[in-house]
């Protein structure tokens, strides 16, 4: 709802305000300094042939501009000089990109699951919102709620039973991040040489917090950990496959890097010490939690106008 309230009414393809459409001009005499609207239906009918007596050689090749504005009419020497001038060929490789992002909001609902933890799976719903400052750069927020979905794997149990050693486990509660997204890649695919769809790929990175706690496996009778947020940096890659100009399938892989405080592998000697929380924590370890996210990308507003013709 908040995102919807912030949605601008219209996204523009290029920076700058769209100029208002001028009202039809009143019929005036043509000449230097007067404004001419080529498409204006109220324009006075121009003569089919140039007026006699215009001996300027450039005027013959200048066409209508010489009649509209004689001062802008190119002369022979101007054309020669222009031919020698360096050309600033600012031509876009791709015109009218299918799904523009400039000044649009992107909402990313999805489901997140862990890729590199064989012992505990960290699953959860995730939601992100990005705002594209330029067509390729966005700033945004995302959050994931893990707590009810952490699951201990069967592999972990089998390993523990066979070797009589326990691997310290960690449970996630939530994560929230400020992100920057950069979109260096885009393209299109033809499916079965029949239909065409567009995609883009992006890199994402940022910083935030991840609330975690150890799962007591070494001494579960005495230890009861509370969740604590930790600073987490993240970096990842994503892919969007567009179904239309505002809806895309989103697949993202992101590494959350944070300093995890693990459960102490040693149990204190006395009951009193065992119940002292200061004896519960073991080593700190930099942890890479690689999460995959599958979801949708919904862009607001749904439509825009291109500034330049195709």
């Amino acid at each position: 709802m908040a995102a919807a309230a912030l949605v601008p009414g219209l996204a523009l393809a290029q920076p700058g305000k769209k100029p208002p459409k001028p009202p039809p001009t009143a019929p005036t005499a043509t000449g230097a300094g007067s404004d001419i609207e080529i498409d204006d239906p109220n324009q006075p009918k121009q003569p089919d042939t140039p007026p006699a007596g215009t001996g300027d050689p450039g005027a013959a090749g200048g066409g209508g501009i010489c009649e509209i504005d004689p001062s802008a009419c190119p002369k022979g020497q101007d054309i020669n000089a222009a031919a020698k001038r360096d050309v600033a060929a600012e031509v876009y490789a791709v015109q009218q990109i299918y799904a523009l992002r400039y000044h649009r909001f992107e909402v990313q609902p999805g489901w997140s699951f862990s890729l590199n933890d064989q012992f505990v799976s960290h699953l959860g719903p995730t939601l992100g919102i990005n705002y594209y400052i330029t067509n390729v750069l966005a700033v945004g927020l995302n959050g994931t709620f893990y707590q009810p979905f952490n699951s201990d794997s069967d592999f972990n149990f089998q390993n523990r039973r066979a070797t009589r050693i326990a691997v310290p486990l960690t449970e996630y509660q939530w994560g929230a991040n400020l992100n920057f997204t950069y979109v260096p890649m885009y393209g299109k695919f033809a499916g079965f040489s029949n239909f065409i769809f567009h995609y883009d790929a992006y890199v994402i990175g940022g910083v935030g917090a991840l609330s975690t706690r150890p799962t007591p496996v070494i001494d579960p009778d005495n230890r009861n950990f509370s969740f604590k947020p930790k600073v987490a940096f993240n970096a990842g890659l994503g892919l969007r496959i567009f179904f239309n100009r505002w809806l895309a399938l989103n697949l993202e892989i992101r590494d959350y890097i944070y300093n995890e405080q693990l459960e102490n592998l040693q149990i204190a000697a006395t009951q009193q010490q065992q119940q002292n929380p200061d004896t519960w924590f073991g080593e700190n370890r930099i942890t890479n939690a690689v999460q995959a996210q599958l979801g949708a990308s919904i862009f607001f507003p749904f439509s825009w106008e291109y500034r330049l013709p195709k």
């Binding site: 490789a93 039973r161 070797t163 009589r164 695919f189 079965f192 040489s193």
Partner: protein
């Protein structure tokens, strides 16, 4: 006669309901494109990088999400593309490098060798106190891979990088059958011909052939007409005893170690399902030169 009239009435009623429920008129119309694009294909002058071409693709694969060992597999694919959208070939490789994971190293260094762990952890000697032997020596290895397969290429397009670099790209699915050489802990405690599972000799690995389905997807980046780059994900799920533990076969439902209810036993029942995965990077050499579609 009465039955016939009844049947007729029922049929008429059903027909009336069907007519009432049906829309009055179905409307559909083929979109008639006129002008120069009428009947035109979606893509013209497409460079046909695959159709009628052989491919030899040397590369290297890395197993993913490994529990006890990572395998690095130099290999190659030999393929012939019948059509632009279908190719048949064989991928093969050999696990030249097999590295133990951190978990394996941690178990090796911290797990106690005593009578309780003797059936599951490699050790020296037949009586306590046991001496430590490398845990990594009992963990299973993947050795060779042979996968006859088909590649299905539904998507063809291009990719722009920084609006400067453009490369023709296709996305494909592949599937087939994989023959995998597995070295895993041999049977023990099964009968008199096999050693006891607490005997250090029982931790010796034996070779076997596993058959698994294989499937995945990949991207081809056509950097030139002859050489291209391919990145591929492959899954090849099957059951194997990766750690060499006695972990199945006992209890009422067979989900407990045999040692719980009787003698320890390691056999095929201890193989557990694993969704094995790998990532491959290949340089693709294609010949002859590609054609261009109309």
């Amino acid at each position: 006669m009465r039955k016939t009239i009844g049947s007729t009435l029922v049929a008429a009623a059903l027909g009336a309901f069907a007519l009432a429920g049906a829309p009055r008129e179905a409307k559909a119309q083929e979109i008639q494109i006129t002008g120069p694009l009428a009947g035109a294909p979606a893509v013209r002058k497409l460079r046909l990088y695959r159709e009628g071409r052989f491919e030899f693709s040397p590369g290297v694969s890395f197993t993913l999400l490994d529990e006890y060992r990572r395998t690095i597999i130099p290999g190659a694919t030999l393929q012939y593309n019948l059509f632009e959208w279908l190719g048949l070939g064989v991928w093969g490789g050999y696990g030249v490098v097999s590295l133990t994971t951190d978990l394996t190293d941690q178990i090796d260094s911290t797990a106690l060798r005593n009578s309780r762990t003797a059936p599951n952890l490699n050790h020296q000697g037949n009586a306590e106190p046991f001496k430590t032997a490398p845990f990594g020596d009992q963990t299973a290895k993947l050795t060779y891979f042979i996968a006859p397969q088909a590649q299905f290429v539904p998507l063809r397009g291009k990719l722009a990088l920084f609006q400067k670099l453009f490369v023709d790209t296709d996305a494909y699915l592949h599937g087939g059958v994989m023959l995998v050489g597995v070295e895993e802990r041999g049977n023990c405690g099964v009968d008199k011909s096999t050693p006891s599972c607490t005997d250090p000799k029982s931790f010796t690995r034996e070779s076997r052939l596993a058959v698994a389905p294989t499937f995945g997807l990949g991207l081809s980046f056509y950097t030139s007409k002859i050489v291209s780059l391919r990145m591929e994900y492959r899954a090849f799920p099957f059951s194997w005893n990766r750690a060499g533990f006695d972990q199945r076969g006992g209890g009422t439902d067979g989900k407990f170690p045999n040692g719980i209810t009787g003698n320890f036993k390691v056999d095929s029942e201890d193989r557990t399902f694993k969704f094995n995965q790998m990532f491959t990077v290949q340089a693709v050499i294609s010949f002859p030169k590609p054609n261009v579609s109309e």
